[in-house]
Symmetry: C2
Subunit: 223 residues, 2 copies
Amino acid sequence: MSAEMKEEAIHLLLVDDQEIILDGLTSMLRRFEGQVHISGRAKDAVDAVKFLEDNRVDIVLSDIRLKNGSGIDLCREVASRHPEIAVVMLTVYDDEQYLYQALRSGAKGFLLKQIGAAELVEQLMRVRDGDIVVDPHLAGRVALSAARLHSGEFWPGAHLGLTQRESEVLDLVTKGHSNKAIAAKLFLGEETVKTHLSSIYRKLGVRDRTSAVALAMREAIFR
Amino acid sequence: MSAEMKEEAIHLLLVDDQEIILDGLTSMLRRFEGQVHISGRAKDAVDAVKFLEDNRVDIVLSDIRLKNGSGIDLCREVASRHPEIAVVMLTVYDDEQYLYQALRSGAKGFLLKQIGAAELVEQLMRVRDGDIVVDPHLAGRVALSAARLHSGEFWPGAHLGLTQRESEVLDLVTKGHSNKAIAAKLFLGEETVKTHLSSIYRKLGVRDRTSAVALAMREAIFR
DNA sequence: CAAAGCGTCCCTCATAAGTGGGATTCCACC
DNA sequence: GGTGGAATCCCACTTATGAGGGACGCTTTG
């Protein structure tokens, strides 16, 4: 405890287009004044970048969706202009895709807004110490995905009983390709594609590619 | 001003599963202590209903998405058990569909979380006085929709240049019907359906029904 | 090892889908 | 009173799609 008290407070910039969130964070973090210090608040990416020019900030805590440009854009901007400043995304979107996008854009953390105050501060301190953090609620799911990807046993649509190959085919169908084009892309005969499609229709309980696409997009298997 | 000061403060119950939001609202509304008073906070619909049993509450301010049941459920519950208590939805979902659903379920207001403190308090006072309020950001759009519906000049897909008939056809295609089935449903010849489809493809810039469906669903024209 | 599942390819056949013409009526707008 | 778009229908033609078979090699699994 005393070891941590010696360290300087983390300087934060809060970025969110909703005042409620800014207020909420401020009031949450007030209880941890020794550990975190709110340097400033911004309502969009432009304001945020401007603020970083002439203020000390260790971590930018930003929502994903902002008014002028997304938090993802902000990540890239900060990563290129101020590589020493970490950006942590704080969002309601409990979505793996967003997480991956954020991390690829240089985010050092991805937390959900349902996080508690103490936990938030703890994660911020870990980021300050060089860690990359992921919200515990997402971490489990992500690890599972990663494990499945590693062993090659996971692909979109697997939960519907589709094989990997069938998923590849359905994906291309969803993108509007003809059987011939799909065959060319996958280095297959057109007949093979048809065979796969027949299996897909049987498994999905549909009669043609149109319904299959509708189902795939509704269930968010592909987009 | 003095006339308003004479009135009693509005007793609020805040409902949201995110602590940040509860904290944010609390700290926002602290500046308006004479006009609003926070009776309590709840994390889900069950807690909220329980709280209403033995506390004075004038307005329930709730998110749409909660842990146990939605804010919509809460609306119905409160409307039937405590018709004298108004429920106001406060949400990030800037979506007309949610708005309509909430109002049909008895909500007395629909506000977006991006609202400012002063405006929030003003809207709450209007609800207390019997008004039904809609966030100004949504109100314009809603009025436009309503006007278009009234004059019959609005249908899904109109913004892409589709005619009303073409939209009907595309809708049925999206639902997986064949040209023949569509013709039967709309009392048309199959050729007519084909003619419409060709126009649709031209206007959407696609080559077949599969891509048209993908586009329609991606753009959320139909689902 | 045998069975099962997957992935690949092949064939035939029926029909659905899509194109490009042309035609008619109705209605609104200039 | 003409122009043009929308909606309807028709025909001829080409191509894509899907069903129903069968066949072969490969792996996994019991």
